[in-house]
């Protein structure tokens, strides 16, 4: 896909060859999804038909506090929208990014600055430079994966739609 457009997609096939495995580890993704409370979504659209809105709406329904980061909006999903990560006046656990890859290094630097614990880049958003900045700052990094899909796979009801969660378990939940 075109790398210099903002990520409109929730779940496009990404660029698997260029993404190191450690940025897509099941264990890491599940830990982030299970431990997070507050998720800032950079590039969250106010349009109900955009993938970022689907993700934000879904995560909000499942109890996460969503913090929109979009300088063009004042409120999305009933939450105050901030122009940047550094403008958010309270702690953020995860920074979820729906922006073009070239915007990621600056976002990663801000994520480090505000003390976030994880940087999550959505499908099609691949930035090794941004990942390096975040990792140096002590953040977990996930790349080219969808936060909604990973939640639905492990904790949600994606299996009700005949989608392949990959989950095999003999344990009663």
């Amino acid at each position: 896909m075109a790398n210099e457009t903002d990520a409109a997609f929730c779940a496009l096939p990404g660029t698997p060859a260029s993404v190191p495995e450690r940025f897509q580890e099941t264990r890491v993704m599940r830990e982030i999804v299970q431990s997070a409370h507050t998720i800032a979504i950079v590039g969250l659209s106010p349009s109900e038909l955009r993938a970022s809105y689907f993700v934000g709406f879904y995560l909000q329904r499942h109890g996460y506090r969503i913090v929109p980061v979009n300088p063009n909006e004042s409120e999305i999903l009933g939450e105050t929208s901030y122009p940047s990560l550094t403008a958010i006046p309270f702690p953020v656990d995860v920074v979820d990014v729906f922006r073009k890859p070239s915007a990621v290094p600056a976002i990663a630097a801000e994520a480090v600055q505000i003390g976030a614990r994880a940087l999550w880049l959505q499908f099609g958003v691949v930035s090794l430079e941004g990942a390096e900045i975040a990792e140096r700052g002590g953040l977990k990094v996930v790349m080219d994966r969808c936060l909604k899909v990973e939640h639905a796979r492990h904790m949600g009801r994606m299996h009700w739609f005949g989608l392949n969660t990959g989950v095999v378990s003999a344990r009663r939940e």
């Binding site: 896909m1 409109a8 997609f9 929730c10 779940a11 496009l12 096939p13 698997p16 580890e25 099941t26 264990r27 599940r30 109900e48 038909l49 955009r50 993938a51 689907f54 709406f57 879904y58 329904r61 499908f123 969808c146 899909v149 639905a152 796979r153 949600g156 009801r157 994606m158 299996h159 009700w160 739609f161 005949g162 989608l163 392949n164 969660t165 990959g166 989950v167 095999v168 378990s169 003999a170 344990r171 009663r172 939940e173």
Partner: protein
């Protein structure tokens, strides 16, 4: 891909094998009751938690059960299991194999579009392409699947998909999936493969480049001849946003302008297949049938091993018999498809194949009547061994010239080799062949074929 997510147990990552997924994928212990076997959710509809949830389900913003024409948890367990075994992103089940095939195409076609299909496929599929697709103003070109140039030459600007069967019915031809997928992708269109005869145990077309896999689940997935059903599996890798598929990429009138490809990406085709095609065509799979299919899949690996072992034994027996003109089994050395079979179905070329008796239509009929263990019926993929004589049943309306054009000889017999003792199967075949030979030697002719009712049905 999303197919084989690794799992972490006590700190160790693991990707489970085919046999493990055949037993477990898609079905976790029921969280509410602890039931270990798959519960049959025999319900038409599902109660909403509240009005907000109902709205989110209808808007596809949340994975929620609404109505069993669109989704059902028992059916979903089957869908996820077959998706896992085929290596796809997901699956949608239908009330028959032909319904699944129609739905797979309906989701990506518009009036004026065109598809290219192998001519060496099930006659019922060809009938659907000619008659149903014709009425929907979709044009179909049938090609010799063995010639790459024929596929290439048939593609037009309006072509939206290529279609073939892994193992062709009834001639046993093997599709060169990688080559045909390459041609499709060079033109920005998907390859759809019917994997009914091979099953994912013998061949996984997605691993060779196929984009969508369809099944008649009635056959080896069921495995016991109990239930009619079908399923569509999507690899999740095709770029529907390449400009040729406005039905998937452009805003949908049915969902307030939702663009399935943009919003759901990998799952865009599957979501449209379910939320629009299945919902609107209405060919939903019954939960009880899905329950039987999940049971069938649990034993698929062990059944298919025995199916192909028996099929190879029967094929060798027939090839050595003086009453047999030829055996069309790709697993036999010397078969024109032997090399392709070694590549695509190395564990065995399935257990459905045809052979040609020396003689005419009456010879075939006497053969059938001389059998007592093989069941004479129009289906395949059962534990029981099955037999049919196309010239007096599925193809009986055709004259000899038309028969020949469809690759069926007057003495062609199709077998579906089951799981009985191999010695018993060849013992019974020997009796049938003796009966066929006795007639050839001048016994009173069997009743005229024309006096019997027969329709072009299925199988």
């Amino acid at each position: 891909m999303n197919g084989h997510a690794e799992h972490e147990f006590d700190g160790q990552a693991r990707t489970f094998g085919f046999e493990t997924r055949a037993v477990h994928a898609g079905q976790r212990p029921d969280p509410y009751t602890g039931a270990s076997a798959l519960p049959i959710f025999q319900t038409s509809a599902f109660v909403f938690e509240d009005t907000d949830s109902a709205a989110a389900y209808f808007n596809l913003q949340e994975y929620g059960n609404i109505y069993s024409r669109i989704m059902n948890p028992t059916v979903a367990a089957f869908e996820e299991r077959i998706a896992s075994l085929e290596g796809g992103a997901g699956a949608v089940a239908f009330s028959s194999g032909l319904a699944a095939q129609l739905a797979a195409f309906y989701t990506l076609l518009q009036p004026g579009d065109h598809i290219v299909a192998s001519q060496a496929i099930y006659g019922g599929s060809i009938a659907q392409f000619k008659h149903v697709f014709g009425r929907l103003s979709v044009d179909v070109t049938l090609v010799n699947p063995d010639e790459a140039s024929a596929w290439e030459a048939a593609i037009r600007p309006t072509t939206k998909a290529l279609f073939g069967e892994t193992i062709g019915n009834p001639s046993g031809n093997i599709l060169d999936i990688r080559t045909v997928a390459g041609i499709a992708h060079a033109h920005g269109i998907p390859l759809i493969v019917d994997n009914t005869f091979a099953t994912p145990y013998l061949c996984r077309p997605i691993e060779w480049g196929a984009d969508i896999v369809v099944h008649s689940a009635t056959k080896f997935i069921d495995g016991h001849g109990t239930s009619i059903g079908g399923v569509v599996v999507d690899a999740g890798g095709f770029d529907w946003g390449n400009g040729r598929f406005p039905g998937i990429a452009e805003p949908s009138e049915e969902y307030h302008g939702l663009a399935f490809h943009e919003t759901f990406g990998v799952y865009g085709y599957l979501m449209k297949l379910r939320a629009e095609t299945l919902r609107d065509l209405g060919a939903a799979l019954a939960p009880f049938n899905a329950f039987l299919y999940t049971l069938g899949l649990e034993t698929l690996p062990v059944r298919m091993e025995r199916h192909v072992r028996n099929a190879e034994g029967v094929a060798r027996f027939l090839a050595a018999h003086p009453m047999v003109e030829r055996v069309r089994y790709a697993g036999l050395p010397g078969n024109p498809y032997y090399t392709l079979a070694q590549q695509y179905v190395p564990r065995g070329a399935g257990s459905v194949f045809a052979f040609d008796l020396k003689g005419d239509r009456n010879t075939g009929q006497r053969f059938i009547e001389g059998l007592s263990l093989w069941r004479h019926l129009a289906n395949v993929g059962d534990t029981k061994s099955l037999v049919i004589h196309p010239a007096s049943t599925t193809h009986r309306q055709l004259g000899d010239a038309e028969l020949a054009a469809s690759g069926v000889a007057p003495g062609t017999v199709r077998l579906s080799v089951g799981l009985e003792s191999l010695d018993d199967l060849t013992w019974d075949l020997e009796r049938g062949l003796a009966a066929a030979r006795a007639g050839t030697a001048g016994r009173a002719a069997a009743p005229a074929l024309e006096e019997k009712e027969g329709e072009r049905t299925h199988g």
